[in-house]
Amino acid sequence: MHQPAWKRWLQQNLGFASALLLLAAIYLLYNMLHPRGFSSAVAVQNANETAAIAFVAMAQTIPVLAGGLDLSVGAVMTLTSCIASVLVNGSPAEIVFGMIATLLSGTAFGLANGLIVVYGRIQPIIATLATGAIAIGLALLVRPKPGGDVDGDLGWALTNSVWDFADTYGLADGGDAWWLRPFADIPVPLIIVLLVTALVWVPFRRSVTGRTVYAIGSAEGAAFMSGLPIARAKIAAFTLGGFFAACGGLYLAIQTSSGNADLQQAGAYTLNSIAAVVLGGTSLLGGVGGAVASLVGAAILRVISFYFRILDIDPLLQPLIEGLVLLVAVSFGAIRTLRVKNKLDLFR
């Protein structure tokens, strides 16, 4: 009588499923075309380039699920990478402290966003446009000139394969232990992203607060009438966004062993995060989608750009082609509106 579970899942997650399929297809093709395809080195390089945007896309997802946009995610990433470039060095204890302080500062920034949106009653898009500028301003104070001094061992260990990580810190017989062998070639950034997702996003989604975020985006009135904690969920959405953006900033600092209060980079990351969210199948109206979907969306964005390196395409064409691909992908979301029977509903 009831549909089989897989069929229902597919129906309810059509956007995510097609994004996943698209990613698998284009990444497979990419590896086949790449002269050193299917190697650990290529995978490590790809993962390094994807980690920061993946985190920022997840940061964007949660406010979007609640029906708002966060235009400060790229700036918060930049701010936290500048903070990390100052703090993440010295003794192991200092490094750990620096990392925690970086993550906390981004989280606090997100919390401020949430408080401004909820208690200042300002629309998210304009509130975060302002706080984003503030974040860049703070980043310039922290690091007026590009540079920094992030611990080298850490940079090496976190941006290579699992074997390199073990080798750097002398763990598991320098990476040669038999039980590590099956995982030795996996890129560390991939593991970090998946670990943060599993430890932060998955529990959040299964909390009442997380569910409330979806309910707000889907039908805020019904959420209110059902007695859900709306203010708390909105604040949590932006706070968690700040945390994920800080993860992105921390990783970027470690990867480049420096910080740079780059306004343009911040803007590009913010816009790409929105693109990744949509590509993954999350609705900009809120209520549908998830952070994992945005991971896939971010990966698709990056893989498209990888192609420009191996195919001899004029780099000048890159923005044009990226734009076209994005437009086609996003159009699928509009098919829904053809089925609306009361045209007034299109404007509600």
Binding site: M1, H2, Q3, A5, R8, Q12, P203, R206, S207, V208, R211, Y214, A215, G217, S218, A219, G221, A222, A223, F224, M225, S226, G227, L228, G287, V288, V340, K341, N342, K343, L344
Partner: protein, 507 residues
Amino acid sequence: MSSPIVEYRGISKYFAGVRALENVDFSCRAGSIHGVLGENGAGKSTLIKIMAGVLRPDAGEMLLEGRPVSFSEPQSAAAAGIVCMFQELSLVPDLSVADNISIARPPRRFGLIDRRAQVARAEALLARVRCEDIDPNALVRELSLSRRQMVEIAKALGRDPKVLILDEATSALTARDVQTVYDLLGELKAQGVASLFISHRMHEVDQLCDTLSVFRNGRHIETFAKGDKSERDIVRLMIGRDVEAQFPPKPAPVPAAERGAPLLSVEGLAWQNRLNGIDLSVQAGEIVGLGGLDGQGQKELLLALFGVLRDVEGKVVIDGQKGVPRSPAAARSGRTRIALVPEDRKTEGLMLGMSIGDNLLASSFSRISRGPFLDPALARQSIDDGIERLKIKAGSAADPVMTLSGGNQQKVVIAKWLMIDPDIILLNDPTRGIDVGTKQEIYRLMRELANAGKAILFYSSDYAELIGCCDRVSVLYGGRVVSEKEGDQLTEEGLIAASLNIDVEAA
């Protein structure tokens, strides 16, 4: 008799100075099913919204089990055991049925929502409302309206109510589901739950409730045990005696045989499950009313005729041309021009932040343009004419329209449409929430327009208005015209009886 579980003492509630509830004393007992009756706008919704913590009373106090309570939000009312099922469903469309049923207090494991337990709980509750066919993992948006209502009922049951409020909760249900709900309410009654039942279906109320209360104009009129009064008496209580508004005189009715071809004729109009075969016609020079309770398809009918709805079925002939307009733009600029004064003037009628002048011109830009540009002199002239014609009280036409009072805002909407010189005018409750003086001006204007040969289709939730203004009234029930009243039959009693789909003469 058991003691009251909920008691109102002198509760009043006003909206922008308009009385919604006035000095209401009301109580309902544990282990009873209490029907609340009243016309549209009698205060029933306000009554239950206060109980459910959606609204706070302006005066008076509410007692729950003898103790005064004050709910600031639905959450606190639910925590106290008052569970309400609203007309507008409180389900979240993008979450699953199981998520919705346990939405605010899900079963948890290690602090996280335990999905398996949640599905099991949903299955148990759905079985209790005999809806095993609903998949707990389906999204609510995938369900039909009647299934959603059953989910809503399962959700309410899961909250272990002491007081269960059903506001039109059976309006979309199938006959089998209605029986299920009756059985359930019977069970709950035996368990000592108080159910407040609000329904426009008279026979439902009659069959189900043990106590009835009648509300009128924000006042609690009377509470009595079922069977103490006849349906006829109940209808009288609902109408009461009210000051009649002044209506312009109607022309002598034209006998049906002498009428010419109608300007607008509708046969078997159907759309989704909201319109189920509407038949009616309007002559030039005639005002035809749409009666019936809220939500019986009147709004959808007007929207369909204005080209807003897609996939409308049935035969519509407008001045010899078949079919409904493709869009509002087509409706307004066709050979036979159609205007719609919409339900909600704040969102559908006006652009609140724009000036009075721009709003007045919004539908007739093409009439005051030369080439691609507006002719400022012509625009100025049209705006002045519109303001003059409807006697809109405005400081300057450049002021934002939101600075006007409700009545003057509505006049702007009407003036906007009169600028296109429409042949057919569709009015969706145009006098709702506006003052008596403006209402009378609108009544007079309607008659003037009819006398000038326009065809007017007029929906109003106010029966007195329909009787005073209309040449004929078609009463809708469940997306169909169930009765057509004119002449001597056009009485408040007759309209109410037709709206409730009962036969007073037989009662």
